[in-house]
């Protein structure tokens, strides 16, 4: 895989900037469709949870948390299920398209966390969280980012598998069994949702920290003056 790079000259000032085509079209399309799908799935999922906000027995019922209706989607259980059962197909479609594209295009090398990235995780974490020196930037994604994005794909797969076990605990009885039965599968599905929310939170913090050029690149594909280009 070779990434397209450009030098851009402003004819008036003669100023030269560089740009790299960081995010291929399919990646950007999947990213934004998936963003909407994830938003709907979390919102409707929490409305579904409101119908029985517990992971224990029905009798006696112990409420785990009373999730406010204002932060849920669908209005009622039946409505929320319609949203959930509709957008899960969109979520699956973008997930499958994205993973297939990454695999066949080789673009996965950008974000897949591999063994040689392991030693780069701690210096990067030290920089982000403990004011350590910034390690040199050599690629579009640093080891910590790769770890985060690779985990996010894993969480996407887990959300699908745990969801299948809740929706079809008999046809996919092996899945439900692996999760300790239907009852626990529902808990795992809930836990995976929170893990995804945690990822999205961290992702958004990073987007804010990395500024406008980085944000705009997920819309147009092109990133101006990326740090890893030698000038």
């Amino acid at each position: 895989m070779s990434t397209r790079a450009l030098t851009i000259e402003d004819p008036k000032t003669g100023e030269v900037t560089e740009a790299v085509y960081e995010h291929p079209y399919i990646v950007r399309l999947c990213h934004w469709v998936n963003t909407v799908a994830l938003f709907v799935l979390v919102g409707s999922g929490l409305q579904i949870f409101r119908a029985f906000p517990s992971f224990g027995a029905k009798i006696p019922e112990k409420e785990l948390l009373n999730w406010p209706k204002a932060f849920a989607l669908g209005g009622w259980l039946g409505g929320a299920l319609q949203w959930h059962l509709t957008f899960m197909w969109i979520y699956i479609a973008t997930g499958v398209l994205y993973v297939a594209y990454e695999w066949f295009s080789g673009n996965y090398r950008q974000i897949l966390f591999v063994r040689r990235d392991i030693r780069g995780v701690w210096p990067m974490a030290r920089h982000y969280f403990f004011f350590g020196a910034k390690p040199p930037v050599t690629e579009a994604y640093n080891p910590l980012q790769k770890l985060a994005y690779t985990s996010a794909i894993g969480l996407g797969v887990l959300s699908l598998l745990t969801g299948l076990a809740v929706w079809k605990p008999i046809q996919f009885s092996w899945l439900a069994w692996m999760m300790g039965g239907f009852h626990l599968a529902r808990l795992w599905h809930f836990a995976v949702m929170w893990a995804i929310i945690a990822f999205v939170f961290g992702h958004l913090v990073m987007v804010v920290l990395h500024g406008w050029n980085n944000f705009i690149s997920m819309w147009t594909g092109w990133k101006k003056n990326p740090e890893y280009i030698e000038r």
Binding site: R4, L6, T7, V33, K58, I90, K168, I170
Partner: protein, 239 residues
């Protein structure tokens, strides 16, 4: 070597790439009230179609040891209006109609002449809770055989003493674990659990387990999909 562009062409390149994302805006259809409902209905119908494809008649629902069965007091009683529609148990019969060779009124004893099957299976409510219970009764497939039902018909349509109604696809009706249930926990059904006869379909969600049955018809055309289904819940909801 990197290509060279001037600022203007780079800007138009970026604009073009941005416009290519226009399909994302199609999701905005879900935000328009007029389109939202039909789209969500389509989504639900697609899920039901997938559910029917995933259903396997030879695949059994998990059964459980007696020790895993919840006590009857912990088996939540869910009704849509009354806990007891005051069925006259002595005079009760099941009215059989539709595409059957032997229509008529079937008293309970006649259903009980069929082989009895008892199984411990998980009941799952659409709300999310579940409870393992013990159910006994005749196989629905045996009863359909007894009444000479046309099993190439698409549905069973069931009516209840409390004006609840349900539909069931024929493939699920013929599943060996699908019961016309007259016993729970080795005792005749109590009134709140649907005496004298209810559906017990372990491969279906809770609201499909209709209680206080009064009539069963074999049909290709449904008058309604079911009490909850007609309000927007999934029609197939196979587990």
């Amino acid at each position: 070597m990197a290509e060279q562009k001037n600022t203007k062409t780079f800007k138009s390149m970026n604009r073009r790439e941005l416009f290519k994302l226009a399909p994302v805006l199609a999701l905005g259809a879900f935000a328009t009230p007029k389109l939202r409902e039909p789209l969500l209905e389509e989504g639900l119908a697609f899920s039901d179609w997938a559910s029917a494809v995933l259903f396997r008649q030879g695949h059994m629902a998990t059964t459980f040891d007696d020790s895993e069965v919840a006590p009857l007091e912990q088996f939540y009683v869910n009704t849509y209006d009354v806990d007891d529609p005051n069925v006259d148990l002595a005079a009760w019969t099941l009215e059989v109609k539709g595409a059957v060779k032997h229509p008529g009124n079937y008293p309970l004893w006649q259903i009980q002449t069929l082989p009895k099957f008892t199984q411990n299976t998980r009941h799952i409510c659409v709300e999310g809770w579940d409870v393992i219970g013990r159910f006994g009764g005749a196989r629905l497939s045996d009863f359909l055989n007894m009444i000479g039902a046309d099993t190439s018909a698409r549905y069973l349509y069931l009516e209840c003493a409390d004006d609840y109604y349900e539909s069931l696809d024929m493939a699920t009706a013929m599943h060996p674990q699908s019961l016309l249930c007259y016993e729970m926990y080795d005792h005749p059904l109590t009134r709140e659990h649907g005496a004298p006869l209810r559906l017990r379909i372990p491969t279906k969600i809770g609201y499909k387990q209709a209680k206080y049955l009064t009539s069963l018809s074999v049909t290709n055309l449904l008058r309604g999909k079911g009490y909850w289904e007609d309000q927007g819940y999934s029609e197939f909801y196979g587990l």
